[in-house]
Symmetry: C2
Subunit: 416 residues, 2 copies
């Protein structure tokens, strides 16, 4: 297909895009095509006013009274109620607190306590590193003979879950490749073997429909700063299945997890609700930013997001192929829709880091993951088909004229 | 002393106050006398511009690039370097991350791992509840026979620390009464018995000089949102003695605690620096707010803050006494300077909650702690002697005309 035809196809897709109106609600920089919303979502235009209100009216003027008067005390619930429908959960099963890493620790501990007769923890070798590090942390702290089984290949996952498995910790959509696991089948299989399942939804929440209650997931955690656009380091969410509320217990028993935090009792009484998964005082500014970003979802159906995401990705693949880049790049992301999230990852045989730096220099922002992966995350609320067309044109030019060679010897940045 | 004389004394003190210029750097609401900076410090006037820059230039425009270009990645160190001199610590022994509660958990675990041959944890029954709850949390999670010894009276503290004590967890300045412990003597005593010491500096940092390195404290944690004015739920700091860096290990082993987080290694390698006490991605907006608030301290000597704090408190006590309130209120705070922090707590036999509500209705904001304590925190960077005079006049009137009786039957607020 000719360049002109691809370009006009992009224009046609954009013209009939039912989500096209949402892009104008984001503050996107001029001259940038942003495919890194799976790492840090952009800012909503409404954000500065909301934060300014929190600073001036709530903090500066209300001072300590704002815990009541501005309802800061209920921010974990207020924010959670906006996330719950996106992950198929009852609001009372979700709260928002701490970082994803801290929350992984909590649910992992809770699962091991619930299933304390068993010693095996199953995860994937390619899981996001923080998940694996926390498994090691809990195991090494407890020193109770837990064994960590890291599966090298998705296909081995089912077989690795046995009647000895205490807990399975899986990331729904792989951060490198965008591969999506079958949440329903794996949860069912694990339950059939008496194992509990924790789902890390970092690359799922806000990108595609998730049905935690329906599949019977035991625990889940997720990220506020990727597809939920909550701002850098936005707080994370935790899900606990209704069935475990009141019986599940996590050891970060800070005062916000107490039955009556402001009674200042000497001894600990766990809150019987999802609040037992809170810990200390929440970072209000960051919580408010996440709350503001989530307002967008009142007007969006997650199914529409998923449909456009798949279409964007298909068009990206079509552009790559039509641009003759098939020889240079291989596709790391599964082709079947049911097997992938909202990104396309390309493997490059040469210096992939340099190629991504060359793209970024041209204003096309994705990111690079060792050893050879260029990631392009698609966020249907602001990405367009026209952007995809232009991004792949840039990529083609960079390869054709060897522009990436210039970036080969640059120092790697701290965060890649 | 007559009311007129007290008033003129206040004016005289304010006229010669070497810290008087700092008040104008805070955005304080009209008609409010704020003695609750020990619960939530007020906002600096420079804050909105700094946050606006972070929102517009760093998040919205820089997007993911700001982790490098705006140096978000180094915020824990940047902020810690500003806190270190206030607590008598080398910058490389301090980091800023998570909430105080989460950090208490970390240092408690680290101390128990370091001193693993011993089973006793010593603290005070009147310690801030979150500290006690976390001791229970760690003990119940480990199930390794740890025994918690909660001392009822400060005087018993020394005797309770024995050769069986693994760790002593103490809050330097008591949140209810403002009583300050002898950090040096207790640390020395504990070390003499082979115990490790954790100091909770929630009511010390920014209020008075602390000398962690000098006294040889093992660990410390503290709060960013009280006397450091970092904003509601600001991140907390952690101190680890140089001697333990590299050997101390905490189990919340999220990716930011890894030796090379962005190498995305499969297995955990602890960072050998203070960074091992980080966990997940930091909440950037809240970190930036704390960073901004700490800039003030470039121009302030903590010794001057302490001097004024004691003088404010003395004048408060003088006003209470001169106003004939001695019969109504007793002083819960130790009178000796070396034994108290930066607050005065009054006990009231009647409905203390109602008295505080009546004060707040008149614009004098302190807070109430069950069962009978009215807390007045003094922050020398913005509080004046004139405010103290006026606040006590209000208190006198409220008692004289029984104004507090009106507030007796009101519903207690969620946060008190």
């Amino acid at each position: 297909m000719s360049v002109e035809l691809l370009q006009s196809k992009a224009a046609d897709f954009d013209a009939v895009d039912p989500l096209s109106s949402f892009r104008s609600r984001f503050q996107l920089p001029e001259g940038v095509i942003y495919f890194d919303g799976n790492s840090l979502g952009p800012m909503l235009k409404s954000m500065p006013e909301r934060i300014s209100k929190t600073l001036h009216d709530e903090w500066a003027t209300g001072l300590i009274r704002s815990w009541n008067d501005a309802d800061w005390i209920n921010l974990p619930e207020t924010v959670a109620a906006k996330i719950a429908p996106l992950i198929g959960a009852k609001p009372e099963c979700v709260t928002v607190t701490d970082s994803t890493s801290v929350n992984i620790f909590k649910v992992l501990c809770a699962a091991l306590v619930l299933n304390k007769g068993r010693k095996r923890i199953v995860s994937e070798k390619n899981n996001f590193p923080t998940d694996l590090y926390l498994v090691e942390g809990v195991r090494d702290f407890l020193q109770r003979g837990h064994e960590v089984c890291l599966v090298e290949d998705d296909l081995e996952l089912f077989d690795s879950i046995t009647h000895e498995t205490a807990v399975v910790l899986l990331t729904h959509v792989d951060f490198r490749t965008g591969r999506m696991l079958d949440m329903e089948a794996l949860t069912k299989h694990a339950h059939g073997h008496g194992a509990l399942v924790i789902w890390d939804l970092a690359h799922s929440a806000g990108a595609l429909p998730v049905h935690l209650d329906e599949v019977g997931a035991d625990f889940a955690v997720g990220c506020g700063y990727k597809y939920l656009n909550g701002g850098p380091g936005a707080p994370s969410f935790v899900y606990v299945n209704e069935e475990h509320l009141g019986s599940a217990w996590q050891p970060l028993t800070g005062w916000f997890s107490h039955k009556t935090p402001f009674a200042f009792d000497h001894s600990y009484e766990p809150n019987q609700s999802i609040k037992q998964f809170l810990c200390g005082t929440p970072p209000v500014l960051s919580m408010v930013a996440l709350d503001e970003s989530l307002k967008l979802w009142r007007d969006v159906r997650i199914e529409d997001v998923r449909n456009k995401s798949l279409k964007l990705a298909e068009f990206f693949l079509e552009c790559v192929s039509a641009s003759g880049l098939d020889d240079e790049f291989s596709i790391a992301t599964p082709l079947e829709h049911k097997d992938r999230g909202s990104q396309i990852s390309l493997r490059f045989q040469g210096d992939g880091y340099a190629v991504m730096q060359a793209l970024i220099a041209r204003g096309v922002i994705g990111d690079f993951r060792d050893p050879d992966i260029l990631r392009f995350g698609f966020a249907p609320l602001y990405n367009t088909f026209g952007e995809i067309f232009r991004a792949v044109q840039h990529l083609k030019e960079i390869i054709e004229i060897g522009e990436w060679q210039q970036a080969r010897f640059m120092e790697r940045k701290a965060v890649t």
